[in-house]
Subunit: 595 residues, 2 copies
Amino acid sequence: MATYNAPLADIEFVIKNLIRFEDVASLPAFVDYEMDQDFVVSVLEEAGKFASGVIAPNRENGDRIGSQMVDGKVVLAPNYTENFKQMGEAGWYSISMPVEYGGQGLPELINTCANEMWTAADMAFSLWPLLSAGAALAIEAHASEELKNTYLPNMLNGVWSGTMNLTEPQSGSDLATIKTKAVPEGDAYRISGQKIYITYGDHEGTENVIHLVLARIEGAPEGTGGISLFIVPKFLVNADGTLGERNDLHCVSIEHKMGIHGSPTCVMQYGDNGGALGYLVGQENRGLMAMFTMMNEARLKVGLQGLGISEAAYQQALYYAKERVQGKSAEGGKAAIIKHPDVKRMLMTMKSLNEAARALAIVESIGIDIANHHTDKEVASKAQKRVDLMIPIIKAWITEIGQEVTSLGVQIHGGMGYIEETGVAPLYRDMRITAIYEGTNGIQAADLVGRKVGGDAGETMFSIIAEMEATHVALAESDSLAAKKAHEIMGHAIGGLKFTTQTVLEKLKDAPQQALLASFPYLMQCGYVMGGWHMARSLLAAESLLAAGDSNPALQAKVHSARFYIEHVLPRAHGLANSVVNSDDDILTMADEMF
Amino acid sequence: MATYNAPLADIEFVIKNLIRFEDVASLPAFVDYEMDQDFVVSVLEEAGKFASGVIAPNRENGDRIGSQMVDGKVVLAPNYTENFKQMGEAGWYSISMPVEYGGQGLPELINTCANEMWTAADMAFSLWPLLSAGAALAIEAHASEELKNTYLPNMLNGVWSGTMNLTEPQSGSDLATIKTKAVPEGDAYRISGQKIYITYGDHEGTENVIHLVLARIEGAPEGTGGISLFIVPKFLVNADGTLGERNDLHCVSIEHKMGIHGSPTCVMQYGDNGGALGYLVGQENRGLMAMFTMMNEARLKVGLQGLGISEAAYQQALYYAKERVQGKSAEGGKAAIIKHPDVKRMLMTMKSLNEAARALAIVESIGIDIANHHTDKEVASKAQKRVDLMIPIIKAWITEIGQEVTSLGVQIHGGMGYIEETGVAPLYRDMRITAIYEGTNGIQAADLVGRKVGGDAGETMFSIIAEMEATHVALAESDSLAAKKAHEIMGHAIGGLKFTTQTVLEKLKDAPQQALLASFPYLMQCGYVMGGWHMARSLLAAESLLAAGDSNPALQAKVHSARFYIEHVLPRAHGLANSVVNSDDDILTMADEMF
């Protein structure tokens, strides 16, 4: 099996060529670090070592042995507990959390790049620190100073871990129908109800598990406006910080899933014996808003999961394609299968999609840093709007193309790909959840079209399209043949996106159900065109460095992958645009019996 | 979980509207049956009952318990043995085999439709009768009368079963390097070597297992021209038909696969104790040719597997979409998720792809009957050429779109789709093998472009395109708006296919490696455009029946699915055409280190 290597060269290319690094480095929160790009790369080099050296060797255990329920207790996969502790101690999952609560205080940009690596190394494991960091982030943003001081330090150093409790059997994509109850008792609340799909909902891997639970305070209004957010610890925390009694909650069962076997997905029961003690985070009835503030980060991370698994699949497939001898080369001799044109096509499809996804995610991640830390409110708010628009695209597009990339990873292995021990089938199974959780990709599309594009009448989207048009002009000014061809193809792609954006805006006004019907192909079109935009920028940057005498072999490789993306992948946008335009009332008004 | 129902209404629509049934019914082999379309439908109705009533209820056992190796013996999943016996007794897997050896003597057309059902009911089980029928077919076509009489009757009635032994560890897609040895001994041969990926290679489910084994007779030339085909029975057969000694072969181990758990995939060892007795089928050194004659049938069946699983996934997803209440309808009330536009989009994508695939497979299956049975050699040979061209498209396109269809089936279930017990995840895992075995889809594409399109300088392909153009004209003559729109979209699609076919032919002459690079997108383009062609024909047929007063609700449903396919799915062909045209030397000449 191939050893996972963090894609540092490509990350470095993006950080040095596709973003304005000073936009982040000059933020007051980071200016004292005097960061440069090489600093970022050196931090990520260490992250890569941790991912490859500590997490990845255990991936197979995670999948094959998995986490199991034994005698009513959740037993985690071998080495998971030790690795989580080590990761917390090293500060790897608190990279972008504030220093005052034990975080590293570094930009989200770095956290973004590192998250790709954790997933690539072992997605099922990586969900544990991811959820812990997510829960900590919600507490940091909304809880009282007392709660923050009580919970955050141990949640960020690997001693405790955290979970998110949203879903109930009747409340999946639609949280308005949540029934879990909270009854006031002194300064606290008694929580009772059932939550499902709780990732790392229970286990013996940390001393305490801190649950964030959405519940409805007795007498609260129905719908989303009556939901509050609570901290519900597995063990109550005494005033001196030591652990007290066991709280009234337990794991009923864990799910038998297609993948991410190392991650226990729990059914959690609260309050069977009078109610679990919970502490309100933020304001009453504003729980969903509190959750939403961290949703962008969570959805970005799921997009990065798509990328991380895709990168792992690419590396495995490439390794196999160089090793496996089968058939003859064009010259007639024995050939490793990488010599066969169709295998090259598959590898380049994987590679170029991964690079486009990586560029897109990293470029947009700095918007989170700017939105969180810029002192000019207007700049911060503009950055926030762009992040809000881009997040559903990053989450859904990357996890969709990731299904294709991992599938190609299986395909390149031939029959071996279908055998579990080869190690690529588990990636394919793990990947499948990313299109579903943290808001299905259909929900992302509805959010993109309805709230985001519709929310400002297309203003933010058109401002991004204007940036693409600037790249389009730059392509025309280059005299390389590849850039000229890219100019032509990008021209069609950008024109198509302008047109469908207008179409979607019109539908939102006149026929909103049609806009929803068009939303998924529109989102995918956005993803492909934006990926093409960054690959075109990459092409220009690489060609100009090469022309200036830079002999880094990664630059020539980038010219190839950019060309491949633009000439072979980007043309898919055309079909998607047609689907957007053709979204009319035909199937919307069709009787259910016609299906 | 949804109960599987054979899609009889859609099959009936295809048989009555998209093929000239008399082309089959009038063949001398079938003329005595005085078949009409209703006869076919009534046979298929019984097949559907067997699939739903006997095979399907056991699918979960097949996946969850699976077939296992216990104390050196392969133990099949519960009920598999009983069901195989019953299926053989009923004659369900010998539908199109000759009556003289115990077959039913019916057209391949019927067998094609039935095969979709067996897979939909339980793919892992269905491989057993499929491989048995395939082995029987090879014997029927090439073996001596004595061997036929000895082996065929028991192989076709469920008493014995059959296998195909091609692959060896070093010989996967490329069979030229096969090492298994055959040493003459009297009238027979002693076989020794190892074969891998042998489906139902060993088990106690039938009294005997008849292996067809590719091996190299001592002294035979190297390469594909030195490979012969042998019958190697697990138990030797005495002159009186009773079973004799155990032959020198055994199953070493079975594979741990991502799916089709019910089907034991064996490593078979021949000749550890002096050599297994084998009997030559057909001529020395012509074994690969003998295998090739049955490859079209086998590849068609794998295409049908893609369709069968896709249909099962569609039925499950539709059932769930009607049951699951989540979110609000456009009118504001509680809504089953089928009311949400994006869920409708997913269901219609699944449904319309399935219908296009079914039409394509059934329409082309009659070519096999004509090629096998027409008395006019020229008609038979023309039909054979068309079958040869269409088979790689049917195999690869249907199994590729099938990955998407089953994935959408998972997606519609949301989080439930990822839970194994829901029953759709197993379909997704089972489906993945279809793109790999019986010649990977990359091999199919190379075959299509190199041997088939290139083999007659595009003559057969252009003759099919000419038929599409006739449909294109008919669309213009209809006065429905749907047909007018279809006329426009099909016009682009057909024009694109003409252009890329020309492009591929030119590349074959001037730059064959570029033709191979273009082969997979070209194959996919063929599939989408041909699927569009049959959906356009379906649209015209349904509209004309409706206009004539036919009130069958399936007709209105067909208008919807045809429109959806043409307006939302078919435009994908454009991107694929671009990829074909853009296949140049850039990545072909790129150094391996650039990956």
